[in-house]
């Protein structure tokens, strides 16, 4: 319960330094996504899909992860709108720009996968797939690994509202709640109201997605994911529960989708609430920052992204023969068919 002092505080006791750090990361994520969109429209990359609109919530997630490699640390089974999570965990814009431009230096996939599909063993971001909802199935496995390992590490998984119709979402609920081995999984659903074009309200009869938790008597919450403070506190509470109780928690965050679904819906700006603009107004009103200060954050961020983008443009595309790398981790036998049919 907030006490009298924090009830009046729009930032619920969060420190100024943290608030400005959150703001800086939100701007970084937004500016980077907007650059990706430009790249996708100017032939400097292909398909775009990403997370503009989810920055408030995703920064709150990324900054509170117990970061590291192996089952003593949190695992992240993410989907394609998670750039703000990864940036908050220390991933740099240039690494992501490389994947957008599918150059050889793309360390997540060697130019093979879409933008915002990471694989980062050092911080337990497991390989991301364009298939919706399969991350809720693999989260079962990383959740078991966390459950079997002494300590407080947990598994995080996120996805969209539309995807919750898939069996994998329900697999995760069932497996995380097995009486013989509950799993410390924070199941996140970002509800932006749409799948690609289909509306949540027309396809789903559930009042709230978080209601699925009721069947299992597991804790759940639906929050305003456009509010970084509410997001921060909700993520904190949910993570603390999973860490301590070694059980699952379902967190539904309502967020805007500011550029539609992806390139497949045109990637044009849509008039929905903008979490960054709202946050900036609050910061200025509370005199925690000046307009000029916040503008400087944007300016510096854009300069950084520009420089990184220029560097990436000069980097080579992968060699065609690199397709044979990593088919198997121990290489291909000489006799493996490689001609693509008759010689």
């Amino acid at each position: 319960m907030p006490n009298a002092a924090t009830a009046a505080d729009p930032f619920k006791g969060l420190e100024k330094a943290l608030l400005l750090r959150i703001h800086g990361l939100m701007v970084r994520a937004r500016a980077l996504e907007e650059r990706f969109i430009k790249m996708s429209k100017s032939g400097d990359g292909y398909f775009w899909i990403g997370g503009p609109g989810e920055e408030a919530f995703n920064v709150a997630v990324g900054l509170q992860v117990k970061k590291g490699q192996g089952p003593q640390f949190d695992y992240l089974n993410l989907h394609y709108r998670s750039s703000a999570i990864a940036l908050s965990m220390g991933v740099t814009p240039i690494e992501m720009l490389r994947q957008m431009r599918n150059v050889a230096t793309d360390r997540f996939s060697k130019g093979r996968n879409f933008v915002n599909h990471y694989a980062i063993p050092e911080i337990n971001i497991v390989p991301m797939s364009p298939t919706i909802e399969t991350q809720y199935a693999t989260a079962i496995g990383t959740g078991i690994a966390n459950a079997r390992t002494p300590g407080d590490a947990i598994t995080l998984v996120n996805g969209g509202d539309g995807g919750t119709a898939e069996g994998d979402f329900h697999s995760c609920l069932v497996w995380a709640n097995r009486p013989v081995l509950k799993l410390p999984i924070l199941m996140i659903v970002v509800n932006n109201g749409y799948a690609i074009s289909a509306k949540m309200r027309e396809e789903h009869g559930e009042k709230k997605i978080s209601d699925w938790a009721k069947v299992f008597d597991m804790p759940a919450k639906t929050i305003d994911g456009n509010d970084p403070v509410e997001s921060w506190l909700a993520v904190k509470e949910a993570m603390a529960y999973c860490r301590k109780e070694r059980k699952p928690y379902l967190l539904e965050a309502a967020c805007s989708r500011l550029y539609g679904h992806s390139s497949s819906s045109g990637a044009n700006r849509i008039p929905e609430s903008d979490c960054i603009a709202l946050f900036e107004t609050k910061l200025i009103d509370a005199k925690l920052a000046t307009k000029e200060q916040l503008e400087k954050t944007w300016h510096d961020t854009l300069a950084e992204i520009d420089a990184a983008h220029q560097q990436v443009k000069a980097e080579p595309f992968p060699k065609p023969e690199s397709i044979w790398e990593d088919v198997f981790s121990d290489g291909l036998p000489d006799s493996y068919p490689r001609s693509g049919g008759s010689l």
């Binding site: 192996g70 390989p127 496995g141 497996w175 088919v327």
Partner: protein, 350 residues
């Protein structure tokens, strides 16, 4: 002397003790049943999963990424179809992550016909399995090979689909697994769960040893000079019997592939070079059958070595395998079919 189910069980036990296997799971895999074919009876890390093939494969993949070397079972390959998408992810995640994530996991699943399993317990999966590139696929035909391939599969940093021919799970081979008692009754008393209450039962494991069959290496189970038979799994012992029966008519070389991906092209090629006559034999249906790929490659690379046209003998392309014995036997290759085909190939003028 172990049957194939016992051999797999002993290999998994070896994996638990020596190779870091910590999670063996699937439907009815844990106590009290220990698997519908008993391949996981008595294993200390075996547990029952919810009836959810996608969840089972997803769990295996997540565990593999976390370095746990899991072994997951899909109860029958007939029930893997709702999870093909998860298998695809298992197969591709090392490649899509640019090699950053290894995928050390084994998925084992009973395959094929021969147990009067009708429509949903007789499927083969070879052609789909071999198209999920990035995943190794093995299929033994003897207990010793099952033991050695399972140990290799566990050690491998790539995902391995371990196909267990249903009809062979109760058969015994000629070779002993290193460390197992020769007397099958003695082995049974040691490692088979008793009928009735099993709650207090514990197996007494023989001290089985490290024996691996390299993945990607075929075995010549019968040497010959006139015709090559390339086969695997349930059809391998049938080919062997046929080769023996035909000894007075021709010299048949039987290649038991053991691994479908990667497959031992060098062994196949060397044999066809010698014989110039070849039969590809498997129990999956015609139309994009894995043997059809092998024929295409044979024609492409060995056209001038062939004395007669290469043949395929396989299952008929029907939506399922009917229950009545006559239906199953008509759909799936039987020994008389193999004999007829081999005689035809032998007598074909070069």
């Amino acid at each position: 002397m172990a049957n194939m189910a016992q051999a797999i069980r002993m290999a998994l036990h070896y994996g638990e003790e020596n190779l870091g296997v910590r999670e063996i799971f699937g439907e009815d895999v844990g106590p009290p049943l220990g698997g519908v074919f008993t391949a996981t009876q008595g294993l200390k890390t075996a547990w029952n999963a919810p009836l959810d093939e996608r969840g089972i494969l997803g769990a295996a993949l997540g565990l593999a990424w976390a370095g746990f070397r899991p072994v997951a079972e899909v109860q029958f390959v007939d029930y893997i179809f709702n999870a093909v998408d998860m298998l695809k992810l298992i197969a591709n995640s090392t490649w899509t992550s640019g090699g950053l994530y290894k995928t050390p996991l084994v998925v084992m699943t009973p395959t094929g016909s021969g147990i009067h399993g009708s429509i949903y317990h007789s499927h083969s999966f070879d052609s789909i399995a071999t198209k999920l590139h990035g995943m190794k696929v093995v299929c033994p035909s003897t207990p010793i090979d099952a033991y050695g391939l399972m140990i290799s599969a566990i050690k491998d940093d790539n995902p391995v689909l371990f196909l267990k021919p249903k009809a062979l799970l109760r058969t015994r081979g000629a070779e002993l697994i290193p460390g197992e008692p020769a007397d099958e009754k003695e082995l049974k008393a040691m490692i088979d769960a008793p009928i009735g209450d099993r709650s207090k039962w514990k197996p007494k494991w023989p001290k089985v040893g490290d024996y691996s069959v390299p993945i990607g290496k075929a075995k010549i189970s019968h040497a010959g000079t006139d015709v090559t038979v390339v086969t695997h799994g349930r059809m391998a012992p049938i080919a062997l019997e046929a080769a023996k029966e035909l000894e007075s008519e021709g010299s048949i070389e039987v290649i038991d592939m053991r691994s479908l991906i990667p497959y031992d092209w060098d062994a196949i090629k060397a044999s066809i070079k010698k014989t110039g006559r070849v039969l590809f034999l498997n129990e999956e249906t015609e139309i994009t059958n894995f043997g059809e790929h092998l024929i295409r490659r044979t024609v492409d690379e060995m056209f001038y070595d062939l004395k007669v046209r290469p043949r395929l003998l396989c299952g008929k392309a029907t939506p399922g395998i009917g229950l009545a014995t006559v239906l199953e036997n008509f759909t799936q290759p039987q020994k008389p079919d193999v004999l007829r085909m081999l005689r035809e190939i032998l007598s074909d003028p070069a």
